[in-house]
């Protein structure tokens, strides 16, 4: 019995919903609101089963009024509630970004710490299934650039559950980005990484800590969500050719775990940063800059970055495949870098 329990496997979406359910059971002030979070269980399964467990007063479907319901979550959080508001796709942030960054992110500061906003904004990110320019973005840095919100983006089901629990318990606004491909949904390409061991009991994984997913000594690859998955794939291929890559899963954009990155580069002396967001003014730039500031002399080769080449995400498969970095592109970039 004990062994099977240890081996309990969950998809990303079930890990996420379980974390929410456990916190809702513990704390009556936690509630969920958003479009299609009720009967539908969240378009990407993030609230699967919650309506049945907790009823419509705690799992609230909303109109298509993101400004109003995210703003309402802010108002409720200011009163001490712990709302979880879902922005269905991160791509829609533009209709409600004012509430997110001018209010959610700033009220705690502007009030001199007198108002706390213990809320979570969950949102689905990512492309790879040809949903085109308005439904395929990650926009990691559009959030991470703006101060006052923690911004996390876990990869494994284990981290999804643990970081969701941490996010709900955090007294700060947390933007919790979950990657569609890592939810393990039945109607998407099923990738191995979207299923993993998840303990049944509640646990936390700290926000703000990167994770070394694979140790290596020749090159550091920093990735996030699907880019971490691809980096691991690439690392396996590289290993066969005698190149030993260290793969870091960023997990958290804000706070950014500079130490883990720098420590790794000091060991490997080479850095490739991979992002599913737009290349310019983004995460690859930030990580590069941190290293250029703090570990410049450790670098053997110039830093390389792989990301979406500053174009909107095209619909058609050949073009989408071309712009979103994948394992092959990572593999090639590392090879080119090392042999430079």
């Amino acid at each position: 019995m004990e062994t099977t329990k240890k081996e309990r496997m969950l998809t990303g979406n079930k890990a996420m919903a379980e974390a929410i359910a456990q916190e809702m059971e513990k704390n009556p002030e936690v509630f969920v609101l958003g479009e299609d979070v009720g009967k539908y269980g969240g378009i990407f399964g993030s609230t699967e089963g919650l309506l049945g467990k907790f009823g419509p007063d705690r799992v609230m479907d909303t109109p298509i009024s993101e400004t109003a319901f995210i703003g309402a979550a802010i108002g409720a959080a200011a009163e001490g509630m712990r709302p979880i508001a879902e922005l269905m796709f991160v791509d829609f942030h533009g209709v409600c970004m004012d509430q997110i960054y001018n209010h959610m992110a700033k009220i705690p500061y502007m009030s001199g710490g007198n108002v706390k906003l213990p809320m979570v904004l969950t949102t689905a990110v990512g492309g790879g299934y040809n949903d085109a320019a308005q439904h395929s973005q990650t926009l990691y840095s559009s959030f991470a650039h703006l101060p006052g919100m923690k911004v996390v983006a876990p990869t494994t089901p284990y981290d999804i559950k643990g970081m969701m629990t941490s996010a709900i318990r955090d007294d700060n606004p947390v933007v919790f980005m979950f990657h569609k491909s890592l939810q393990g949904l039945g109607w998407m390409d099923l990738i191995e990484a979207s299923v993993g061991h998840v303990p049944e009991e509640s646990y936390t994984v700290p926000l703000g800590k990167a994770k070394v997913m694979r140790e290596g000594k020749d090159v550091t690859i920093v990735g996030i969500q699907m880019m971490t998955v691809y980096a691991l794939e690439a690392a396996n291929k590289l290993a066969k050719e005698g190149i030993d890559a260290e793969v870091i899963d960023l997990r958290s954009l804000v706070p950014l775990d500079r130490e883990t990155i720098i420590h790794s580069v000091q060991k490997t002396h080479n850095l490739l940063v991979v992002d599913e967001d737009y290349r310019s003014y983004g995460m690859t730039a930030e990580v590069s800059a941190v290293v250029a500031e703090e570990a410049l002399y450790d670098l053997e080769h110039p830093i390389k970055r792989l990301a979406i080449p500053d174009v909107p995400i095209p619909y058609s498969r050949p073009m989408e495949n071309y712009v979103i970095p994948n394992a092959d592109a990572i593999y090639k970039q590392v090879k080119a870098m090392i042999s430079e």
Binding site: A132, G186, S316
Partner: protein, 329 residues
């Protein structure tokens, strides 16, 4: 109101064309997605929002529009595009992601742009309404009498864009008509769970404009209400809201498990199918014979088949094409 025969048959043909297009698309979409449904697989990947059952909204008002009038449409755009006269081959090719498509395969099903008939659509709920405002602001500046129709779902009427755009259009007295297709759901959320009023035409007084309700997905009633609204607005008498009660036969998108939908609802809607109703009307009125109608059906279906053939036979874009068209030279 007497509806001219040529308008009736145009509506009929266009509804048949639209419905048949969606049926072909439904099949094409499922190619490569069996046995396990995978949204990203097959010749037509990505989300797919079909309009089967919602044709009356599109044809009832487009019957009054010219190529110079503007239509903006949301994520469920095919029936509007077809009624507005968008190039069917290029549209189909776009949905297949081909280089011959309206957007060279960059846009896809939710992003169809055909400037030659002033049609556009987009995937963000409510966001097309202001674009329609801009089109008729232009008409006013240029002194033409072109009008614009912004199609939205009933769910979109609760977005800020709806309110801001209608206020602006009313304030500037622009010839804009917002057609709200009330298909009862915004994905899984019912109208009663999203909308504080029973019908969105009741929101017209908030802008001092005209509002009208069309019941029971009736193409002829839609034609009539639209005629009034288009004539009024073209004559400079200001914007209008028309809400039409319409039917969504399929899921929100293909692959929607529809767990939120009462069993049998879609079937009961199909019993009142507007295409059949219009057909029966024309037969009863002796406007056309069965044979004549069948012949016309064949013609438009043939057109759709050719569009699919064109799309399938067209070339994929080259991967590096992705880097083009971000900026005009």
């Amino acid at each position: 109101m007497e509806i001219p025969k040529e308008k009736l048959i145009w509506m009929y043909e266009t509804m048949v064309k639209s419905r048949y297009f969606e049926e072909q698309m439904e099949q094409a979409y499922m190619e490569g997605k069996a046995p396990a449904f995978n949204i990203g697989a097959g010749p037509v990947p990505g989300e797919m929002h079909l309009s089967n059952g919602q044709e009356p909204a599109a044809v009832g008002i487009c019957a009054h529009l010219t190529d110079d009038d503007t239509v903006t449409s949301p994520h469920r755009p095919h029936h509007h595009a077809i009624a507005k006269g968008v190039d069917l081959k290029k549209m189909t090719a776009e949905i297949f992601g081909k280089v011959t498509g309206l957007g060279k395969g960059k846009g896809g099903h939710m992003h169809l742009f055909d400037p030659s008939v002033k049609f556009s659509c987009g995937g963000i709920v409510g966001a097309g309404i202001p674009h329609a405002v801009g089109a008729v602001l232009t008409a006013k500046k240029r002194g033409t009498d072109d009008v614009a129709v912004a199609f939205i779902g009933e769910g979109a009427a609760n977005s800020g864009a709806f309110h801001e755009s209608l206020n602006l259009a009313a304030l500037w007295n622009l010839p804009l008509i917002v057609v709200v297709e009330d298909n009862k759901y915004g994905i899984s959320v019912t109208k009663e769970s999203s909308t504080a009023v029973e019908s969105n035409d009741l929101r017209a007084p908030a802008y001092g404009i005209a509002g009208e309700k069309v019941k029971d997905n009736d193409p002829m009633a839609m034609y009539e209400a639209s005629k009034r609204a288009v004539e009024r607005t073209r004559a400079g008498e200001g914007p209008a809201i028309i809400e039409i009660e319409t039917y969504r036969y399929l899921g929100h998108f293909q692959g929607d498990p529809e767990l939120y939908r009462p069993e049998g609802e879609a079937d009961s809607l199909r019993e009142k199918d507007p295409i059949i109703r219009l057909k029966n009307y024309m037969l009863e009125q002796n406007l056309y014979t069965e044979e004549e109608l069948t012949e016309r059906e064949e013609t438009v279906k043939n057109e759709v088949d050719q569009a699919f053939e064109f799309a399938r036979n067209s070339a994929d874009p080259a991967p590096e094409d992705a880097l083009q068209d971000v900026f005009a030279e």
